[in-house]
Every structure is written in structure tokens, then in C-alpha cells.
């Protein structure tokens, strides 16, 4: 295996919630510093797969897993792999904006503090807010509650909060599905700007969005037992114009959902 070519890779990954199998034999390799979109019908396990990458599924007691997930050269579900360390390197942005009910400044300072940041907090916070294209809108109200921001601003704050910890990967679980079209556009532009400096894996229901923001796309489907499996993974360009699998083309052109 070539260590540096892929930042995240799964090999015959099977995921279970109790006795229910959510993912079947997923083998997927994700390249660094690009945007990879996970698409597929509802219930195909895109979010489950995403939540395996930063071990958020650990919080669900009935979750179990077979197979391998690697972050660089490290087996993520090894006994001696620490979930807290993994999560500080692989950040996450959720479907619904979830800023803490604290000030804008405090929302970013929290991550810095728990990760033992020793630099200048003000600089780090300004830099993260600039990277998420929010600085100009909030620079005069850093001590105001984050709850007062609009939905789109809240989501960009959540992205800034993830960036402040300086992760190598950011996982995004339908980050724009709760936002209006203009706020969605701002998030998409932001994702394009961030790609290159950070690896992004994004789950989306919105086919056009996957086409607009991602470099590569992985298409998942559900089998007859409602377990998700990977159909194909390729350049977004190719998936959307000339997919290898007929099922992919049928899904993308909207012939079934």
C-alpha cells in the first residue's frame, strides 16, 4: 500500500447497528487535499460511513464494525488508537448548524483550549473566521452570542470552529441542507476555497451540489437487505458524464431515487 497517496481508506468495511447491517464490504480510498462527495439514496449509509472516519459512531452503544479503516497509516479502530486524537485531526460539520450557546469568540476558543493551543488566541480566531469567510460579518460582535447569527452564518461559524483546531480532514454531513439557496452558495464557495489546504469529505443529497463542489464522487446504494454498498467511485466529471455503472447513470439522471 502506498502510504501517502490516500489519506483515508476503507477495506471491506462492514458496519452494524445491533443486528442491522448498515454498510456492506465498502472499499473506498480518499485522496488528500481534494473534495470527495458521497452521494446516494436515503438510507444508503453515507452518513454512517462519514461518521466512521472520525469515530463519532463510538457514541452509539450498539455500533460495531468489521474490516479496516485507515487514516494515513493508522488503523482507526485499533485498540490503541485514541478516538479523541482522531477527532482533533479529523473535524466534522453537521447537517444542522450547531454552534454552542456561547459567544462567537468562545465557540472557537473552546477547540483551541481543549487541544492545548499555545499561540495567540485572537490571531488564531481571526484567521479561522477569515478562512471561513465570516470575519467581516462578525468582527465587531465577537463577544455576542453565536445564536444571534443567521443559519448560513452559524454554519460558516461551525466550519471556522472546525478549522481552528487545524484538522487535516473535515467531514461534512449535508452541511447546506438546512440553509436557503444563497447561504448554500456561500458554503459551496467556501468548500471550493478550502480544498487544497484541507481534505474534505462531504455527504450530500443534492446532485448538483456534488457536481459543483467535488473533485471525486463516490456513489452508494442500498441492497435488498437495506444495507449500503459502494457502487462506484471516480472523478466527479466522469461520474456525472460517463459513469461506468448503469445504476449510477440512472440515479444521477433522476430515473430512480
Amino acid at each position: 500500500m502506498i502510504a501517502d497517496e490516500y489519506i483515508l481508506s476503507t477495506n471491506n468495511l462492514n458496519v452494524y447497528y445491533g443486528t442491522f447491517q448498515a454498510l456492506t464490504d465498502v472499499t473506498l480510498k480518499i485522496k488528500p487535499h481534494i473534495v470527495t462527495a458521497l452521494i446516494g439514496p436515503s438510507g444508503c449509509g453515507k452518513s454512517t460511513l462519514l461518521r466512521c472516519f472520525n469515530r463519532m459512531n463510538d457514541l452509539i452503544p450498539i455500533f460495531s464494525l468489521r474490516g479496516s479503516i485507515r487514516y494515513k497509516n493508522q488503523e482507526l479502530y485499533n485498540q490503541d488508537t485514541d478516538a479523541t486524537t482522531v477527532r482533533s485531526q479529523i473535524g466534522m460539520v453537521f447537517q444542522k448548524p450547531n454552534p454552542f450557546p456561547k459567544s462567537i469568540y468562545e465557540n472557537l476558543a473552546f477547540g483551541l483550549r481543549i487541544n492545548g493551543y499555545t499561540g495567540n488566541y485572537d490571531e488564531a480566531i481571526e484567521n479561522s473566521l477569515r478562512r471561513s469567510a465570516l470575519w467581516d460579518e462578525v468582527k465587531d460582535r465577537l463577544n455576542k452570542s453565536a445564536i444571534g447569527l443567521s443559519g448560513g452564518q452559524q454554519q460558516r461559524l461551525c466550519i471556522a470552529r472546525a478549522l481552528a483546531v487545524n484538522p487535516e480532514v473535515i467531514l461534512m454531513d449535508e452541511p447546506a441542507s438546512a440553509l436557503d439557496p444563497i447561504a448554500t452558495l456561500a458554503i459551496e464557495e467556501l468548500i471550493r476555497e478550502l480544498s487544497g489546504s484541507v481534505t474534505i469529505v462531504i455527504v450530500t443529497h443534492n446532485m448538483q451540489q456534488a457536481g459543483r463542489v467535488s473533485d471525486e464522487t463516490a456513489f452508494l446504494m442500498v441492497n435488498e437487505n437495506r444495507a449500503g454498498y459502494l457502487v462506484e467511485h471516480d472523478d466527479t466529471q466522469k461520474i456525472f458524464t460517463n459513469p461506468s455503472e448503469e445504476r449510477t447513470e440512472a440515479y444521477i439522471t433522476g430515473r430512480f431515487s
Binding site: S88, G91, M92, F94, N98, F100, P101, F110, G111, I147
Partner: protein, 296 residues
Amino acid sequence: MDKNIFKKEHYNQHLTRRYSIGKIYFTIFFSCLMVGIIGLLILLGQIFTQGVGMLTWTFISSYPSRHPDQAGILAALVGSVWLMGLTGILAVPFGIGTAIYLEEYASKNKFTQFIEINISNLAGVPSIVYGLLGLAVFVEWLNMGRTLIAGALTMALLVMPIVILASREAIRQVPISHREAAYALGATRWEVVKSIVLPSAIPGIMTGAILSMSRAVGEAAPVLAISALVYLTFVPTDPLDRFTVMPIQIYNWISRPQDEFRELAASGIILLLVVLLSMNSVAIYIRSKYQTKSEE
């Protein structure tokens, strides 16, 4: 589709009748409210007219006496404050700790389910049962005597289920999404609890704690079993002193034949109500002050 079945004359809305039915129900519900309020006002008015004359500084600053005009509630008032403080120190930290453990740490299994059911059951046990339990365990078996600390331990057992239930409710109100956000930044469980869960849950927890304290101040039965003292001519100064509390003093005055003592009892009730109401207002104030901050 046959159009004839949807003709206008097929509908008769009986609007007048439907509105009057609505009015009748409104009147019923409003009367229900009024029965409670008027009953309470009559009671309060009665007590107030009886007791306000005796409510003087002498009343607050004197010990009980055979002469009604010299009698006061000082020993009981100080006893109540002591009991409330000690109960709070004992019950609140353990109650909150238990709630945090059950909500944030404990895995859901048969054992924790058993504990949870029992906590809810304990909140409904009559207070005299706690009094007798305290008498048997703290006063007799552990040989503490009829002291403040024995009373406070008993009272702490009594109110702890209330603190636990209120705290758990408050902790459960904190959205999962806030916890997830913190975990995703690399926070440990304790950091999530300390920085995300508790700040949002504190108003609810404080409210529960204060309400449980006011429950402790108002209880007579358990203290009657533990203390059994009414005629106290000194103020307790440490937890090993004997004590009495306001509800017991009031009960004692009411049971005397002379009218003057009835008036003293009414004054005592007013004072007790003032203490209880001001504690409840503090709880409401804390809740409303923090609520705007922690709203989602």
C-alpha cells in the same frame, strides 16, 4: 364524480351552536382556575388578618414563652435556616453528581434502569417514612442523637430524589448536537460535560435545588420524628445542637387553646410563606436570567 353530493345546501355549519359549546367549555375551565385562586386567597386573607398584628420585631427576635405577647419564633427560624443550609450542602452536590453520572456516563442496562425506577419511586415516598427511617438509622443506630445533623441527613435523603430528577431533566434538555460538536473537536467526556452540558443545564439544576430546599423548609413530619422538641430557648450554633423548625413551632401554637397563640401561629405561617415565596422567586429569577442565554 357526481357533483350533486357536494351542493352548498348539504352543509349546515351550525356556527352559533358550535361557538356556544366553545363558550361553555371556556367557562368551565376558567371556573376551575378560579376555585383554586379564590380558595387560596380566602386562606391567605384569614391568616393575614389573624397574624399580621403579632408580626413584630419582638416576634422574630424572641424565644418561645408561656406569655403570648413575649413569645417569638427565633429558635425555630434559625433552626430552619440551619436545617436548610445543611440539607443543601448534603443533598445538592450528591444529587447533581448522581444526575450527571446517570445521564452522561452510565450505560443503559438493567442495573441503571433499576436505579432510575427507584429514584422516581423514592420521590413519592411520604415524608414521615423518611422521618422514622432517620430516627432509626441516624439518631439511634449511628448514635447521633436528636441533633441538627441527624435532621439534615434525613432531610437530605428526602429531597435528593427531587434534586436528581430535576437535574437529569435539565441535563437531558441540552441538545445532543452540542455534545456531538464538542466531541468532534476532540473533547473528552469530562470536557463535554464541564464546558457544554453543565453551563446550559445550570439554570434547571439550580431551580431544582432551590425548590428542593423550599420543600425541606416546609416539611414538619420528618423533623417531628427526629427532633421532637418544640420549646427551645437557645439558638443552635453547631450541627450537633438540638433544634426545632418553623412548621413544628407553628403546629405547637395552633394546638394550644388560647386565641393569642393561634394569632402567633398565623404570624409564623406568614413568615414561613415569605421565606418559601422568596426562595421560589429566586429560582424563577435564575431560570429567566439564564434562559435567554442558553436558548437554542
